[in-house]
Subunit: 300 residues, 2 copies
C-alpha cells in the first residue's frame, strides 16, 4: 500500500568528532522515504530550491519513491542544516539553519496522492502538519513526528494535532519536555493521554518504547560497532516502521511491534555511514538477515 | 549451589527529589545477597560496627543467607554512605562517605565458605578483591564489580584482577572511562580483551549489554512506572544474575542470557522502593510472573 510523507528535504553539513561532510542529501522526508521504500511505494511531498542537484531526485526515483510532490522553487535555495555531534555521538548541537524555501513552505498534496491511506507528517510546524492532514481526509493511519521547538512555541497547535492523529513519534528529551516527567514510562503514557492512540519514544542508542492503552514495551537498539553519523536515524526509524505497516496493510498490535523492530533495524544501518550511503548499499534481504540476528538476540 | 559474596555492608542515607531516608539497610554485598537468595543459598562476608542493628542480620538470616562471615567490630562504626539522586533518578551525587570499619577491611573468608564454587567480588579495592580470590582457589565461576574510583586510582591492580576473573560487571560510564571509547559496543569488547571471559555493562534504566568472544547482546530494562530509589539496582542485578547461575549450576551461554534477564527483573523490583523494602515483599513466583511479561514484551 503506498505511503505518503510530507516533510523537509535538505542539504546537510555534518561534523562528527572525526570527519566533516558538506552538502549531504538529507531532510526528514528524504530519510523517511528511503527507509520506507524497502517495504512499500512512497509518495513524497516537499520543497527544494534550484540549487538542488537533480541526481538526488534521480536517486529517490530509482527506489519506489514518487517525487511528483517535490516542488522546485526557481531562484530559491534549498533548506540547509549544519550540525555537530559530540564525542558520545548521541548528543548534537545545531550550528546553523538556513530555512530558505522551507520558510514559507505550504505543502500542497498532489491530487493523485490524496487518496493515500497511510500518512506520515514528518517534523514540522504543527499548523502546517494540520493543513496537510486536511488534504488527506481518508487516511486510515496518520503518524506524526515533532520537535522541541514546536513543544516550546506552538504547544496549543500541537495539542490540537495530537487529537487528530493515530500515532506520535518523538524522542526521549521531547517526551520529558512535553510532560515534565523524567520517568519515560510515565511520560509516554502522559503523551498518549494527550490524544494519540499510540506513542513511540525514540531513545537513540537505547532503542525505542511503545505505549498504547493496553501495551507498554521497550525494544533495544541493535548493537552496532560502527556509528559514523546518526543524522536521520529517527526519520529512518519512522520510515522503516511505517513502511512495514503499509506493506502489511494493517496496524494490529502484532504488526506494530514487528514494524517497530524493523524501524530500529533500518536506523541501525543508517548510522553506519553519512547521509543515505549505507542504506543505498543494502536491500530487503540484509534487513531480513539483521532481523534474524535481532530476534535471536532477544530470545532466551 | 551456594554462592559466596564479599563486599560492603552499609547504612545508607538517600535523598530523592521527593523524599529523604536515613539509616537504611544497604551495601553492595547486602543487595547482592538478598537478590541472589531468591535463587540459591548465599554466604556473605563483610564487616560492620557495633552500631549495626541486629534486626538487619536477622532479616538476612530469614533468607538463605549465611551471615557467619559478617564480622562485628566492637567500638567501631558501620560504613555509611549518603547520596542524592537528581530529577532523572538515574544520575546521583555522593554527598558523604564514612568508611569507618571498611577503612581497613581485610576480608577473611571462613573456612567453611572456602569451598564455594561461585564467587562474587562486589565493588571494592582491587587488591582486596585479589586477596579474597586467593582464599577461594577452587572457584569455578568468579564475577567482579568495580567502580570509577579504582579505575582512576588502581588501574594496574584492576588489570591484574581482570586476568583472574571469569566475568566483570560494570556500568556504562565506567566502561567508557576504562576504555576511552564512547561507543558501548566497542567499549564492552575492549574491556573483555583486558582479561575477563565475559563482560556485562549495566545501563541503568536502559538495561544491560553482554559481551563474550562469540556473543554481543542487549536486553532492555523492564519498563517500570515506579522508580522510588535506584540505590542497589546494580548489585541486585548482579545478585539476581549470579544467583540464577548458581541455582542452575552452569554458565553456558543460554543460562547466562536467562541469568542476565533475571538480574534485570530483580533490579526492576529493587528500584520500586527504598532499601530492600520492595524485595522483602516479593517471592520467586513474582519474579517468574514478571519474566513471563518480559519475555512476551521481547517476542514478536
Amino acid at each position: 500500500m503506498p505511503l505518503l510523507v510530507v516533510g523537509s528535504v535538505a542539504l546537510d553539513s555534518v561534523e562528527t568528532p572525526t570527519e566533516t561532510r558538506d552538502n549531504l542529501l538529507g531532510g526528514s522526508a528524504v530519510y523517511f522515504s528511503f527507509a520506507a521504500s524497502f517495504f512499500t511505494p512512497v509518495r513524497l511531498v516537499g520543497v527544494v530550491g534550484d540549487d538542488w542537484p537533480a541526481e538526488h531526485t534521480q536517486l529517490l526515483q530509482t527506489r519506489r519513491i514518487d517525487t511528483a510532490g517535490l516542488e522546485v522553487v526557481p531562484g530559491a535555495k534549498t533548506f540547509r542544516w549544519r550540525g555537530k555531534y559530540f564525542q558520545n555521538m548521541n548528543d548534537r548541537e545545531t550550528l546553523e539553519v538556513e530555512l530558505n524555501v522551507m520558510h514559507d513552505f505550504s505543502p500542497v498534496v498532489p491530487e493523485e496522492f490524496r487518496r493515500c491511506r497511510y500518512l506520515f507528517l514528518a517534523n514540522g510546524c504543527p499548523s502546517t502538519q494540520m493543513k496537510v492532514l486536511h488534504q488527506v481526509p481518508g487516511a486510515d493511519l496518520v503518524l506524526a513526528d515533532t520537535m522541541d521547538l514546536w513543544i516550546r512555541t506552538q504547544q496549543d497547535q500541537l495539542l490540537d494535532l495530537f487529537k487528530r492523529i493515530d500515532g506520535l513519534v518523538l524522542n526521549d528529551s521531547e517526551a520529558k519536555l512535553l510532560t515534565g516527567e523524567e520517568n519515560l514510562v510515565r511520560a509516554g503514557h502522559k503523551v498518549r493521554e494527550m490524544g494519540p492512540r499510540f506513542v513511540v519514544i525514540k531513545k537513540g542508542e537505547h532503542g525505542a518504547m511503545f505505549f498504547s492503552k493496553h501495551e507498554t514495551y521497550v525494544l533495544p537498539a541493535f548493537p552496532t560497532l560502527q556509528v559514523v553519523d546518526p543524522t536521520g536515524a529517527g526519520d529512518s526509524f519512522a520510515g522503516g516502521m511505517m513502511g512495514y505497516l503499509a506493506e502489511q496493510g494493517n496496524f494490529e498490535p502484532k504488526t506494530l511491534k514487528e514494524a517497530m523492530a524493523y524501524g530500529i533495524l533500518v536506523a541501525s544501518f543508517t548510522v553506519e555511514d553519512f547521509s543515505l550511503d549505507r542504506l543505498k548499499k543494502i536491500n530487503r534481504e540484509d534487513l531480513r538477515h539483521r532481523m534474524d540476528q535481532y530476534k535471536k538476540m532477544l530470545s532466551f
